[in-house]
């Protein structure tokens, strides 16, 4: 069989690029291009719709007409507290999962990561059953300390932590697993106790992943809806976070809902940009 030599056009720019870096042509085969374009349209069109339908003329009025400021402030501070709690208790758990061995470790890991795939509303129901005034733990909190958790900002934080902390744990655990333990060995031969090794070597070495995990956790907490509305309800100023405010506003005042959504979109974009520059380029540990 004779191979037909069919010349195609190669622009000077493409020629230079392929000479310098090698590789196949940059153009995309049609069977891949069409579905890819549909996927792009599907992801981008709704956001475009949001921007087009936004009440740009009276954005301020739309926002102030609702409990937007209250909801935004509540969302921001509860998400931040959630992230702080997740760092304090989640990072040690990630270390335990990555570095220690005990019977049932795999089962524990599965349990800890379950909230990643569990519908959040189920998480909310579970929290309610555990911490409501008649719940498994809640009845003692109530009778011993007079502490009632559901439908308070504390409940918001608990719901968000339940859903968002696994993101941090998984990210940090992966980083701990792939981190070069040679550095920790070196630190041990230099006389460092295990706690000193953790503090002065392990944590700084996984700092990029720690940051990425914290941002993921914060973003997930900010968007949390199902578990929060189930366990904490939606009292304006108390437990009505931004996503819940958007949901209610859509039924009564669509312009306000769009304005609130824009605010959340803006926050998300800021988070994404900060992630892209600092952490997401090239993966986990440097």
């Amino acid at each position: 069989m004779v191979t037909r030599t069919a010349p195609s056009r190669l622009t000077a720019r493409d020629r230079a690029r392929r000479t310098a870096r090698g590789g196949a042509p940059r153009s995309v085969p049609a069977p891949l291009l069409a579905p890819a374009l549909i996927a792009v349209a599907f992801l981008v069109l709704p956001l475009a719709g949001l921007l087009v339908r936004a009440p740009w003329g009276h954005l301020g009025a739309a926002l102030s007409g609702s409990d937007a400021t209250q909801a935004l402030i509540l969302s921001l501070w509860t998400s931040t507290v959630t992230t702080g709690i997740s760092l304090v208790i989640g990072v040690p758990l990630a270390w335990v999962l990555a570095r220690s061995s005990f019977p049932g470790r795999r089962l524990l890991r599965a349990l800890v990561t379950l909230p990643l795939v569990l519908p959040p509303v189920v998480g909310g129901v579970a929290l309610l059953l555990a911490f409501s005034r008649v719940g498994l733990v809640g009845r003692y909190l109530d009778s011993w300390f007079g502490l009632t958790i559901p439908f308070t900002p504390l409940a918001v934080i608990m719901a968000q932590t339940f859903v968002a902390m696994p993101f941090l744990i998984i990210t940090v655990e992966g980083a701990l697993r792939s981190a070069d333990q040679g550095f920790e060995e070196a630190a041990a031969t230099l006389g460092a106790s295990r706690m000193t090794v953790f503090r002065r070597v392990t944590v700084p070495l996984i700092a990029p992943s720690l940051g990425a995990g914290a941002v993921l956790c914060w973003a997930r907490a900010l968007g949390e809806f199902g578990a929060t509305i189930t366990f904490a309800g939606s009292f304006p100023g108390q437990t009505e976070t931004m996503p819940i405010a958007v949901y209610y506003a859509l039924q009564t005042d669509p312009d306000a809902a769009i304005a609130l959504s824009l605010v959340l979109l803006l926050v998300s974009v800021v988070v994404l940009v900060s992630l892209r520059d600092r952490w997401l380029r090239g993966g986990a540990v440097s």
């Binding site: 060995e185 630190a187 041990a188 031969t189 230099l190 006389g191 460092a192 106790s193 295990r194 002065r200």
Partner: protein
């Protein structure tokens, strides 16, 4: 093993990990540099890890300056962080997030000094190793030789009683290696405690060590001074490292019958029984025809099976009774038209042949 004097290291231990067993008995006196030479997988790094306390031994014991570090039978084990040991790793393992000065101050700080005291201890060692100018750099910006020095300073700053060096020069390029080697030799001479230096480079071992141990497949196959090991290798591995032909044979006064066929007339009188015979590749003459009788006592035919160009000479591999490596000049290769498959005659003077007893424990 015997006492190593005050401050010495005594290892008489076994480490079994996944089918591999390291069984080593060695002592290193204070001030002595013991080189551990061996091929990859011989257990050199396992030995260092066990001495450092990074892995426990499975039998026997390790003592340092009279104190038990690890005793499998008694169940005693001192954790790595509690051993007065300085470890220079092959890949240095400098903490990438700390500056050179912070790296060197790490051990004093971890061993309990305050921030200020640790910093001044570090600056002492930085000064001593000529690193003061690099104090504020991150390890990523150091050359190989500089990183090696920082790793040594970091290990020494903890004031260890024992120094462990794992292939200290292998990460360096050839140019830097000679300088760093001379410098390392000086610093090792200044170190008061015992030092274990692992290497697979015979030159490095010969240059830096006072005493050598050859490790193969987890056992010590030879120990002695570097000069002695270079002259009288006990195994094919060592012979190849130092570039000698090595034969196993039976000595009978002035003659040695070789186990692989052939025999040598030797100058050494009085050797009887199992012996090893070492012969330098450059001490063998090569000719195209059977040579005239001469004062050289050993002449045998051989076939060329390979030629390798070394830096300044050509190494011939020859098959015969016995087989041999022979070094000749490139000019000789051209003049005698030596090529693979060619038949030649080899000649060795009896006085060039080194004969020494073979201890029964040594595999050849």
């Amino acid at each position: 093993m015997t006492d190593a004097g005050s401050g010495g290291l005594v290892v008489d231990a076994e480490v079994s990990r996944g089918g591999f067993t390291l069984a080593v008995s060695l002592t290193a006196a204070a001030g002595q540099v013991v080189g551990v030479l061996g091929p990859n997988g011989a257990g050199k790094s396992t030995l260092l890890s066990a001495v450092a306390g990074l892995i426990p031994i499975t039998a026997g014991r390790i003592t340092l300056a009279g104190q038990v570090m690890d005793d499998a039978a008694a169940g005693t084990f001192v954790e790595a962080s509690r051993r007065p040991v300085g470890f220079v790793f092959q890949d240095y393992r400098l903490f990438p997030h700390l500056t050179v000065a912070e790296n060197v101050a790490f051990s004093p700080r971890a061993r309990g000094l305050g921030r200020q005291a640790a910093r001044s201890a570090a600056s002492h060692w930085l000064d001593r190793l000529g690193l003061t100018a690099l104090a504020d750099r991150k390890p990523g910006l150091l050359s190989g030789g500089q990183a090696q020095r920082v790793a040594l300073a970091r290990a020494l700053a903890g004031q260890p009683a024992l120094l462990l060096l794992d292939e200290p020069l292998s990460a360096l390029d050839a140019g830097a290696r000679l300088d760093v080697q001379a410098e390392l030799r000086r610093h090792l001479a200044d170190f008061a405690g015992p030092c274990l230096l692992v290497t697979h480079d015979p030159i490095e071992a010969l240059m830096l060590a006072d005493q050598l141990i050859v490790l193969e497949t987890g056992r010590i196959v030879q120990e002695g001074s570097p000069a002695q090991i270079a002259r009288q290798p006990a195994t094919a591995y060592v012979a190849k490292l130092v570039g000698l032909n090595l034969y196993v044979g039976q000595a009978d006064g002035s003659q040695v019958k070789l186990a692989g066929g052939g025999a040598f007339v030797t100058a050494d009188q009085g050797q009887l029984g199992d012996v090893l015979v070492a012969l330098r590749p450059s001490a063998i003459l090569i000719s195209n025809q059977q040579p005239q009788p001469s004062s050289a006592r050993n002449t045998w035919p051989a076939k060329i099976t390979g030629l390798t160009l070394l830096a300044d000479r050509v190494r011939l591999e020859l098959e015969g009774q016995p087989s041999a490596l022979v070094d000749v000049t490139p000019a000789a290769v051209a003049e005698l038209s030596l090529s693979p498959g060619g038949q030649v005659w080899l000649t060795a003077k009896a006085t060039e042949i080194e004969v020494y007893p073979r201890s029964s424990s040594q595999p050849a």
